[in-house]
């Protein structure tokens, strides 16, 4: 059990009696960092959460956005890091399951999954490869079986995740506004547990996730069953149509303890339940085990007595077990019984709202020591460097991953994974664009600017598909918050995200904080992950690849910002330098300009500059178009006296590459000049070679077929032989 001294004191002060074992177990689960957010809750309030299209409803575990015409989109993000590091297949699979049920609990159908995966150095670490392969299989196995497309995400490798894995899953739901579950309950309503049986798996899972990963606690890892989850989705949606659901919550971290106390607290009611009524996987489960088990594929439904027969009938149709485990009272108490004997009786609010903690923060020493300049000896054969970058695991094509995911099921995926953001069609004729982005390398060097950069990158990706960003979700992943230096990095990231969200007026509609991401090798680098949703009102922007004679334009400034770049870290093995920063004003102007160019059909395709910098972004355009290019970087808008390596590899933000048909080039130039933004026409697409020069100096000559081979085989080749 993980109750701390001040928490024990808090219990004594309020409850004024000795607690039963079951009560202590319930509190330990519910007051874990994972469930109570005791370190972060106070601070998370700074994020802007309201906006024109945001719908707030009590008890929702996912964000709800109105997309017009009576439809809503829901979104949520979760991680399953600790379990995935111990048992990658099951850990990742149950991570998908959990976030799907959060979407379902609002009464919307889950329509897409995105995942952000992070592992150690897979080139040199067989354990990291094993984790990677099995996490991908776990997600594929679960998501594919559910028939929910995994439409995108990202994969990144960094030594800071040695012996560990970050598995973040974001899910998107879609439904009619009038079918949203308006959580409510009145005295006498029945509390029903729908879904798989409760077992001994996942006992203490939330506490396990709220500690450093030093021991492999296998009983804390849950067992996945996507088939039951699929049946639950259909059961719940049919029950929703039949108006059998007054209130609903999924069972995740903290199991029944968390679901019961939080539901009672948010609805302002009491709930009395009998553990003997819970259907279990095996006999002899102790009451506390039933209360804190995190067995998957379970939903808590509150229904009325009149609707119970209908609910049971629907459950029977799908062969899903449902047990009436208790009823709603008006005493605001969480009352747990074992047949007639009371084994826990606590105010729901007391359980659901664990005491919060004020954590100290101090600027980490490493930041004072970090080298700002890279004096490593360099081989400046740019063609060779670009080839190496194209096949490096962080840049190479991730088709080895996303082709294992069914990304087409549901027939909504208009823009498929593999380039910038993915785009889904919605039933009201609009289109939803979605992307998640993280960048621990930047965040390590500057947690504030790094976090803002991830946010901007996700926005850029969404903008590249012609969509306006309408909402974001954040997943803040750090080491041990008790360490003031780590807590400082958390606060910096959070403040940065808040500033940018307020500036852009993009509300935060959901999120999660995950601390204690540490192993014997130390804490992970700060890893905030940002998901952005964008909306296209009418026709979707289906970009086409460049053709012979098309022009290349860059929008945005290139700066001396090689810090945390793939070039420094992968090629030079150097951690340091100056991290890219986002100029808010330029960021917004460049975004709006790009969107209006797309809207006016003046561009063939748009690609954002991110990992690997300009040189990789232009190579990717050539690789996908199967056409070479002749580029001169002399005129690229940039800070004074930038070296060629800085221009080619800096990962400066707010930059977009535009492919323009020659018939539109004058129009576009005129348009951009009028907007007074930084841009330049850099050259044309033609031939079968990527040629980059600076005035008369040739910098890069790379055959497209070689570049393609590097880019498409880079990841698969690593995984072929174990």
């Amino acid at each position: 059990m993980s109750l701390q001294n001040h928490e024990i004191k808090h219990i004594k002060d309020i409850i004024k009696r000795k607690l039963t074992d079951t009560e202590l177990q319930i509190l330990a689960a519910e007051w874990s960092e994972h469930c109570s957010y005791k370190s972060s809750k106070k601070h998370l309030k700074m994020l802007p959460i309201t906006g024109r299209s945001v719908i707030h409803e009590k008890g929702y575990d996912s964000g709800v956005l109105d997309v017009g015409d009576g439809y809503v989109v829901t979104v949520h993000i979760e991680s399953h890091n600790h379990p995935s590091a111990v048992e990658p297949f099951g850990g990742a699979a149950t991570g998908v399951g959990g976030v799907i049920r959060d979407i379902l609990s609002t009464g919307t159908r889950p329509i897409a999954i995105l995942d952000g995966l992070r592992f150690g150095d897979i080139e040199n670490d067989a354990h990291a490869r094993w984790l990677f392969k099995n996490v991908v299989s776990g997600i594929a196995n679960y998501g594919n079986c559910l028939g929910i497309p995994t439409i995108g995400g990202e994969v990144e490798f960094d030594d800071c995740y040695k012996g560990y894995a970050l598995v973040d899953v974001a899910a998107i739901g879609f439904g009619k506004k009038d079918k949203l579950i308006k959580n409510h309950a009145s005295e006498g309503d029945l509390v029903v547990l729908v879904g798989g049986p409760t077992g001994r798996d996942g006992i203490g899972g939330s506490q396990f996730a709220s500690d450093l990963l030093e021991d492999e606690n296998r009983s804390a890892v849950q067992i996945p069953d996507p088939f039951i989850e699929k049946l639950i989705i259909e059961t719940i949606l049919e029950a929703r149509n039949e108006k059998c659901i007054n209130a609903m919550k999924d069972l995740g971290g903290g199991g029944l303890s968390c679901a019961i106390s939080e539901t009672a607290e948010s609805l302002g009611v009491g709930i009395e339940l009998d553990v003997d009524s819970v259907h279990t996987r095996e006999s002899g489960l102790l009451p506390y085990e039933i209360m804190i088990s995190e067995s998957q594929e379970r939903m808590l439904v509150i229904t009325s007595k009149q609707k119970l027969p209908k609910l049971k009938q629907i459950c029977d149709k799908f062969n899903v077990i449902c047990s009436v485990i208790g009823h709603v009272k008006n005493d605001k108490m969480m009352h747990v019984k074992k047949s007639k004997k009371t084994i826990a009786l606590l105010p729901a609010e007391f359980v659901a709202r664990g005491p919060l903690i004020n954590r100290k923060k101090t600027k980490p020493k490493y930041l004072l020591q970090i080298k700002r300049e890279n004096k490593a000896k360099k081989n400046l054969d740019y063609s060779k460097i670009i080839q190496e970058l194209l096949s490096c695991p962080n840049i190479a094509s991730k088709h080895w991953v996303f082709q294992q995911y069914d990304h087409e099921v549901g027939i909504r995926t208009v823009v498929k994974p593999g380039f910038d953001a993915s785009v889904l069609r919605l039933d009201n004729g609009k289109f939803l664009s979605a992307k998640i982005d993280g960048n621990p390398k930047h965040c390590y060097i500057d947690p504030r600017q790094g976090a803002i950069g991830c946010f901007e990158e996700a926005c850029r990706n969404v903008v590249c598909t012609g969509a306006n960003p309408i909402g974001m979700v954040d997943h803040l992943q750090f080491g041990n918050p008790e360490d003031p230096e780590i807590f400082w990095t958390f606060m910096e990231s959070l403040e940065g995200l808040t500033d940018y969200a307020k500036f852009l007026r993009v509300p935060c509609v959901g999120g999660k904080v995950s601390f204690y991401n540490e192993t014997d090798f130390g804490p992970i680098k700060p890893t905030p992950l940002i998901g952005v949703l964008g909306l296209v009102d009418h026709t979707p922007f289906l970009s086409s690849t460049p053709n012979d004679g098309d022009y290349l334009i860059i929008i945005g400034n290139t700066k001396n910002e090689l810090g945390g770049s793939e070039y420094f870290e992968y090629i030079d093995k150097f951690i340091g330098g100056i991290c890219p920063t986002v100029d808010f004003k330029n960021s917004k102007i460049n975004m709006l300009t790009t969107l209006s160019l797309i809207k006016n059909k003046l561009v063939k395709s748009v690609h954002d500059c991110s990992k690997g910098g300009f040189s990789i972004a232009v190579s990717e355009l050539s690789i996908f178009g199967q056409i070479g290019c002749d580029i001169d970087i002399e005129k690229i808008p940039c800070e004074k006296d930038l070296s060629s390596e800085q221009i080619l590899f800096s990962e400066s933000h707010s930059r977009y590459l535009l492919v323009i048909d020659k018939k539109n080039i004058l129009n576009v130039e005129r348009f951009l000049s009028k907007k007074k933004i930084s841009f330049a026409v850099l050259g044309k697409f033609s031939g079968d070679q990527i040629n980059i020069k600076r005035k008369s100096q040739n910098l890069v000559k790379l055959r497209i077929d070689l570049a393609q081979k590097r880019y498409f085989n880079g990841l698969g080749d690593l995984l072929k032989h174990g």
Binding site: S137, N144, F227, L231, E408, V409, I411, T413, P540
Partner: protein
């Protein structure tokens, strides 16, 4: 009577019922329904696997998914569902029946189609676009297609590698039962077989997903050939009416 618009845009009044069967774990049922009903204006109805099928149904589709979570073997439990008895009866009567992906696996497991479907040779689930080649254009689902016509279409399966022993392979060829093959090596299927039919030609199974490729918006290459699979069905059952 239901008002329909046929494939060349004429408004016709016919009662054409296409049934989409839902097994526990089916997950392409709604996609198939959408394409049949909203794109091709067919009178389409869902049938839950425990319910019987009406005698006067015009065509039956077994959609993709993971019936029973692929437990034991893909399709084997669903092959024992009550509805399969009716499917067998209708198959005997010559009613067009199409199994896509998991639907194909179910048809094979219920002996409506010969052969087996094994794990892909990559040992992974594979979701990617590929080209099909039409090998038999006389079935109710291919009669509007040309022989050897290419169909850009996505696959999405883990157990999609068709296998038949040499004897069966000879039989398949003798009776013109190979309906589709892949244009190149995809998953190790014998002779790159992607879809087959029964001897009578009215029961067709295919691993790729025509319902994911029939709309222009979803198909980055060419949606017409996949549309012709549905238009073949309309041609067949419309002609009958």
């Amino acid at each position: 009577m239901v008002m329909c618009i046929n494939f060349i845009g004429e408004i016709i009044n016919i009662i054409v019922k296409v049934g989409v069967i839902i097994f526990p774990g089916s997950n392409c049922d709604r996609d198939m329904f959408h394409v049949l009903s909203d794109v091709f204006n067919l009178n389409t109805q869902y049938y839950w696997h425990e319910k019987g099928l009406p005698d006067n149904i015009d065509a039956v589709i077994l959609p993709g998914g993971f019936s029973y979570g692929d437990r034991l073997r893909a399709g084997v439990i669903a092959a024992n569902s009550p509805v399969i008895k009716d499917v067998k009866k209708l198959a005997k009567k010559g009613i067009p029946i199409l199994g896509v992906c998991n639907g194909f696996q179910i048809l094979v497991e219920s002996n409506l189609l010969p052969g087996v479907l094994l794990k892909n040779d990559s040992l992974n689930f594979m979701c990617q676009w590929t080209n099909l080649v039409v090998k038999n254009n006389k079935t109710p689902f291919t009669n509007k297609l040309e022989l050897n016509q290419k169909i850009p279409i996505p696959i999405a399966n883990g157990e999609g590698r068709y296998y038949a022993d040499l004897q069966l392979l000879d039989d398949l060829k003798k009776h013109d039962q190979i309906v589709f093959s892949y244009g190149k090596h995809v998953n190790g299927s014998i002779e790159q077989i992607a879809g087959i039919c029964n001897e009578d030609g009215n029961v067709v199974g295919m691993m790729p997903h025509p319902e994911r490729a029939a709309e222009k918006l979803l198909n980055p290459l060419d949606n017409k050939p996949s549309s012709l699979i549905f238009e073949s069905l309309i041609h067949t059952i419309g002609a009958k009416n």
